[in-house]
Symmetry: D2
Amino acid sequence: MRTDIPTLIQALRDFAAARNWAQFHAPKNLACALSVEAAELLEHFQWLSEEQSRHLSADKQAQVAAEAADVLLYLLQLCDKLDIDLLEAARLKMLVNAQKYPATAAGGTQ
Amino acid sequence: MRTDIPTLIQALRDFAAARNWAQFHAPKNLACALSVEAAELLEHFQWLSEEQSRHLSADKQAQVAAEAADVLLYLLQLCDKLDIDLLEAARLKMLVNAQKYPATAAGGTQ
Amino acid sequence: MRTDIPTLIQALRDFAAARNWAQFHAPKNLACALSVEAAELLEHFQWLSEEQSRHLSADKQAQVAAEAADVLLYLLQLCDKLDIDLLEAARLKMLVNAQKYPATAAGGTQ
Amino acid sequence: MRTDIPTLIQALRDFAAARNWAQFHAPKNLACALSVEAAELLEHFQWLSEEQSRHLSADKQAQVAAEAADVLLYLLQLCDKLDIDLLEAARLKMLVNAQKYPATAAGGTQ
C-alpha cells in the first residue's frame, strides 16, 4: 500500500489528538524536535568517510530510514501547525535555487 | 499547479546533474546539510515563546516555509542516494509509534 | 580538584592517542559530533516550557551537565585540531557583540 | 591579555543584564541557540572533504573561530543558568569515557 503526504498529515493529526499531545506541539517545540531528529540522523554518519556513507549495510540503512521518517513526520506536523504547504514551498524554493545557481555558471563548485 | 514527491525527486536529480554537484552529494554531506537547514529553521523560533511561535507574521511564516522547503529538499536527496523510500519509511514509523505510545496509556505526557 | 581548559585539552589529546582515534578526528567529523551533542542537550528541553526549563530535577540537571560536557569536549578537540585559541576567540567575540548590540539601544529585544 | 572561564561567565552576566536579556535566556532558549550555533559552525564544513577540513584558509579559520566562540558563549550561559560547573562536568565525563572506552580494547574503531 502506498501512502502520500496528505494521508500522513491526517494520520499525524489523529495520532496527536488521540494522545492529547496538541498542548506540546507548539511550532517552537516541533522545530526543536525536528532539529534533534536531524542530528540523530547525522549521528549515523559522523565517523564515516564520504565513501563509506555511500555504502551502508542493510541494518544501518534501515536505521537511517527510521530517522529520516522522524524528520519528515516532525516537518509535516510543523508545517501543518503553521498552515505551510510544504510541497508548494519546495516547488517555489527550487525555482529560487534555479535563479540563484544558474546551471551554466556553477561548474562543479557548491 | 500541484507537485508531488516523485516530481521533486526527479527535479532535484536534474538540478544536481546540470551543475555537476553529484561529487558533493555523498550521504554524509547531505546529512550535514539537512542538520544545518533544520537549525536555520529553529533559529526563527529560538527567542520566541511557545505562544508567539503559534502566531507568526506573514513575513516570518514565509521565511519559515523557505527553510522547511530546504529541509525537505535535502531529506529527499539523502533518501534518493540511499535508496530509501521516504514515504514508506514514514508509514512504517507511524506503525512503530502506535505500538510504542498506546493511545489509552499516553494521557497527555510526552 | 579543579581543572582548567589547558588540562582538558592535554587529557583529550592523550585519550585520543591511546585509542588511535586521530584518524577519525578530522575537523569535519568533530564539527558533526559537536552538532550531534548540542542536539542531544536540546532534546532534554524540547517538550518543556521555558518556565519548566528553569527548574530541572537533580536527575535531569545531571543529564544535562553530561551533555554540556560532551559539547565542550568536542569543541575543545575541534579547536585544538584547527589551532584555534577558544578562550581568545570568545574574548574577541564579546568585543564584537558589544559593538553590534550597544547596551543603550538594546532595550529588551533580541 | 589572557582570559579564563570565570571571567567570561561574569562578562556574559554583565552583558545580558545591561541589555535586559535575562527574560529571553531561559535554559530552553539557550539550548536552542547553542544548537543553532553548532550548526552554523558545521555549515563551514558540509561540502569539504575530511582532508580539506584539516587545511582551512586563514579566512575560513577565523570564521570557524568566531562560530566556536558563539558555541562556548551560549554553553557557558546555559550552564550558568542551571548551576552547572562546566569544567567539573567535563572532568567527570572524561572519567566516564575512560571506563566506557578502555584504551587497550579500542583498537582504532570508534
